[in-house]
Amino acid sequence: MLENFKDFLLNGENLLFIFFSMLVIIGAVFLINLQKVVHMVIALATTFISLAGLYVLLEAEFLAFVQVLIYAGAMTILMIFGIMMTKHDRQNEEPKRPLHNGLLLLGSIGFFFIIYLAIQEAAFPIQEFTSVEENTELIGIDLFTWHVIPFELVSVLLTVAFIGAIIVAKREED
């Protein structure tokens, strides 16, 4: 048991996994517990960047870069814009909802235990993962041969969503 634990700790990948997962969970917990809204966004940025580290551990380098660009970059800035556009100085006078929050905490923890038991029960046969150097190139080839129609559909959806967002947020002059 102790020997297994020592082997586990001596493996560099496991150490990195522990480090990044700690950062992820700490960021998420701070997101829930901090008082100021901007601090919450910074905590969430920590979570996003550590998740990018986990993606590198999982040999998904392209997705790690996408995570840093889109989540840690664009999404965080967008949320800070959202905070700047709205006012947040009335947090203290809000009524607390102890019953609601207690039931919610109970339900969340119960839900987590159900998932945890399911994960422990399930058997995952070890499969050979052929590790590839050119992750980005293979994703590009796959995306533009097998998944080209979903790719184009997603581009149309993004255009529609962003034009819609501009129209919704626009000031109604007339």
Partner: protein, 100 residues
């Protein structure tokens, strides 16, 4: 190894769920929804490496997921700003015009 990744994703998802249902600030609710989507992405990528049939499909699926999440966040913030202009509140408990 996969079970630790799945457990981490479950922890993230549950924290996001708790935040999305308990916070009153609409921006924070959006952030917590992003957290839940990130947990799902982590699951997909973990299965792309350690799953029954490891391949790049999981990574491609999570790429689409990230795109949809970006669109969702943009539309969410736009709705928030429009609502703030009309009702001057970012509190989700006061967004109840349809209930009256």
């Amino acid at each position: 190894m996969i079970s630790s990744y799945l457990t981490l994703a479950a922890v993230l998802f549950v924290i996001g769920l708790y935040g999305a249902l308990s916070k009153k600030n609409a921006v924070i609710v959006l952030l917590c929804i992003e957290l839940m989507l990130n947990a799902v992405n982590l699951n997909l990528i973990a299965f792309a490496k350690f799953g029954i049939n490891p391949s790049l499909k999981g990574q491609i699926f999570s790429l689409f997921n990230i795109t949809i999440a970006a669109a969702e966040a943009a539309v969410g913030i736009a709705i928030l700003i429009a609502l703030y202009r009309n009702k001057a509140t970012a509190n989700v408990t006061e967004m109840n015009s349809l209930k009256k």
